[in-house]
């Protein structure tokens, strides 16, 4: 029954959409002008930034029937071509770039599901301010900002797979639930979300790069966890100085030893608390601040396995104070940090008595 009523609505609104688009056919950007608030039908397709050559090569291995490397594609220089004609290679300002064509039919399907499942929080136009958004913390993401916190991707934008994984897993401790939709539905919704990028930004920007989550690789500390935790504690309070934003989990005296600072060095007064930081996220034009998590207390959003933590630390969290650490410190130190943070979570989180005693011990040490 529901399918039929959606279809009926789509057909009648489709006619409306056609009229609107004919009236504004000389507009520079008919897609962005489509009055989404009233029509469920998207009348024009979109060229969107697709994943990189590496992604195509990887997909081609698992799905050889779909992707072919065509030496004659795009003027004989060669590139990846999708058997459905959805991806192609194109020359942009002397650089070779990948683009994906998304048809209006597909965007319409994505919009229909978006309106049903996502819009109450993320807004009909994806501005992050739907009917339920007013009282939600953290605030729902605006898809017009092209920034995604927890996709574990270093590139500017997450690949479809990275977004799909995020939606399926949900974000722990937030109103973003794990979504049990079909892959087809999710991919349609994702295409629609991507098309909400303002002109020349995000998925509609020639220079943006799309990437997969950071490769996990092998944990160099797998058999020597205790040493990893000790090393992680050193890096956390030393070279990486995580305690500048997150809490320090040591006394001032221990910190002086870890950092090899001279006797009498003073650190921030609230060392055992996180420090509130600016973020790039806006709600109705107002900037929001973000509290870096206290690992012994707050729920982490994007997983708490060693591998999850490794990926999140490596990639950083887009739009926030948390930078990319991959490349800044050696991978084995990234893994050590992941082990240390995991140990903090396992040892203290959701155990108020144990945690209370631990933090009280740090704070009572005299100068904290």
């Amino acid at each position: 029954m529901r399918g039929i009523s959606w279809q009926g609505l789509a057909v009648s609104l489709g006619a409306l959409g056609l009229l609107t688009s004919l009236q504004t056919s000389d507009d520079e950007n008919p897609h962005a002008r489509a009055p989404r608030g009233v029509s469920l039908v998207v009348t024009a397709g979109s060229w969107l930034r697709a994943p990189s050559a590496d992604w195509f090569a990887k997909q081609a291995k698992s799905e050889p029937s779909r992707f072919t490397h065509d030496a004659t594609a795009a003027g004989g220089v060669g590139g990846w071509v999708d058997s459905r004609g959805e991806y192609s290679l194109s020359e942009v300002e002397g650089e070779w770039a990948y683009w994906q064509w998304v048809s209006p039919e597909r965007l319409t399907a994505g919009r229909r599901d978006f309106v049903q499942f996502c819009s109450s929080c993320h807004g009909l136009d994806g501005d992050g301010y739907g009917r339920s958004a007013q009282h939600l913390r953290p605030t729902p993401r605006s898809f017009q900002q092209n920034k995604f916190k927890f996709t574990k991707v270093i590139a500017d934008l997450p690949s479809d797979e990275a977004l799909m994984t995020l939606i399926k897993r949900g974000l722990a401790g937030t109103p973003m639930l794990p979504w049990d939709l079909s892959d087809v539905q999710l991919l349609d919704i994702i295409q629609y979300i991507k098309s909400l990028s303002p002109e020349e930004s995000g998925w509609r920007d020639v220079y943006s790069q799309v990437g997969d989550p950071v490769e996990v690789g092998e944990d160099p500390w797998a058999d020597i966890k205790e040493r990893a935790i000790a090393r992680g504690r050193e890096v956390y309070h030393g070279a990486a100085s995580c305690h500048l934003c997150h809490p320090g989990y040591v006394t001032n005296e221990q910190l002086r030893v870890l950092r090899k600072d001279p006797e009498g060095t003073v650190y921030r007064e609230d060392l055992t608390y996180p420090a509130l930081k600016d973020s790039e996220y806006e709600v109705l034009g107002r900037a929001t601040k973000v509290m870096p998590p206290d690992f012994t207390w707050h729920q982490l959003r994007a997983g708490i396995t060693t591998a999850d933590l490794f990926q999140t630390i490596a990639s950083g969290i887009k739009g926030t104070a948390m930078p990319q650490w991959k490349g800044a410190i050696p991978d084995e130190d990234l893994w050590a940090l992941a082990h240390y943070v995991e140990d903090l979570i396992v040892s203290y989180k959701d155990q108020p008595a144990v945690r209370g005693a631990f933090m009280k011990g740090l704070r009572a040490s005299g100068d904290n």
């Binding site: 489709g14 056609l18 688009s21 000389d26 520079e28 008919p30 897609h31 009348t43 024009a44 397709g45 060229w47 969107l48 930034r49 795009a74 071509v81 192609s88 290679l89 194109s90 020359e91 942009v92 300002e93 002397g94 770039a97 683009w99 064509w101 209006p104 039919e105 920034k147 500017d156 020349e200 998925w203 509609r204 920007d205 020639v206 220079y207 943006s208 790069q209 990486a240 100085s241 500048l244 934003c245 600072d261 060095t265 003073v266 650190y267 921030r268 007064e269 930081k277 600016d278 790039e280 950083g316 887009k318 104070a321 948390m322 930078p323 990319q324 650490w325 490349g327 800044a328 410190i329």
Partner: protein, 281 residues
């Protein structure tokens, strides 16, 4: 107003076909047709690719040569009203920063000398250079982090030129850029790290660079399509040497006081002219 592109024409025609024909196969634009013209099609003549423009049509802009620039524009920027009192910055979150600023630190966003000269104003030619294409300098513009501050605080560079951010401090920083038209980035840079190279492919004035770990640390980068830009010195003065004769619009922007009103000048070969920009609180 740009003319409807190939992609848009195809999108429109496929839309009409789909809508009238009842949803048949929609034909995707051919590879190579869409992206360049569709999202973010290059709207400017890209002088960035100086090397590949050898066979461009003769009617287009000419390659700039320094010998054409014989005129000099100089001037100054000033702030109206009282000289603001310096604001103390508390660096106590990081003892390494406190150590390097033992005499105390003040906020460097507004620097005014006794006679009102305003430092760190980014002055650039915003119009009048369309007749030339410019070669983007190979060498990067350097932004250093010393004493838990950016040095210099304001830098200018050409579109496509690299910004090399280096950390000379014995502590960690994160280099967080806040562009609106370019790719954003946020990468950490512990003590002793090798420099980061950041590229800005579109002109944008001014892009903020901040360190989240040390919230007082801020810099600004002005990115323009021509080499005619300058940052005012401690007394508010600036010089744009090597301008060719012609009519130009000159703009000036300060990170706190925003834009001063633009000025249009006409300058002849070998001439020297002077203009001034006034900012108000």
């Amino acid at each position: 107003m740009r003319t409807p592109s190939l992609a848009q024409t195809l999108i429109l025609s496929s839309l009409v076909l789909t809508a009238c024909g009842g949803g048949g196969e929609s034909s995707a634009p051919p590879p190579g047709g869409g992206p360049g013209a569709g999202p973010g099609g290059p709207s400017t003549e890209a002088p960035a690719n100086g090397g590949s423009g050898a066979s461009s049509p003769a009617a287009g802009p000419k390659a700039w040569s320094d010998s054409a620039g014989t005129a000099t524009l100089s001037g100054s920027a000033s702030l109206a009203g009282d000289v603001p009192a310096p604001i103390q910055v508390a660096m106590d979150s990081d003892p390494k920063c406190v150590e390097m600023n033992s005499g105390g630190a003040t906020d460097g966003s507004v620097l005014v000398d006794a006679s009102g000269g305003l430092q760190n104003v980014f002055v650039y030619v915003s119009k009048g250079t369309d007749a030339w294409t410019f070669t983007v300098p190979e060498e990067p513009v350097i932004l250093d982090q010393t004493g838990c501050n950016y040095t210099p605080r304001v830098v200018g560079m050409m579109t496509g030129q690299a910004l090399r951010v280096q950390n000379s401090d014995p502590t960690v920083h994160n280099v967080h850029t806040y562009p609106k038209k370019n790719r954003a980035s946020n990468v950490s840079q512990p003590a002793g790290s090798k420099p980061l190279e950041i590229e800005m492919k579109r002109s944008e004035v001014l892009v903020a660079v901040k360190c989240d770990m040390h919230s007082w640390m801020q810099a600004r980068v002005g990115i323009v399509d021509n080499p005619f830009f300058a940052v005012t010195a401690a007394d508010g003065s600036f010089t744009l040497p090597k301008l060719a004769a012609g009519e130009y619009t000159v703009s000036a922007v300060h990170e706190v006081f925003g834009k001063a009103s633009k000025q249009t000048i006409t300058i002849g070969d070998g001439e020297a002219q002077s203009i001034s920009f006034e900012f108000s609180k």
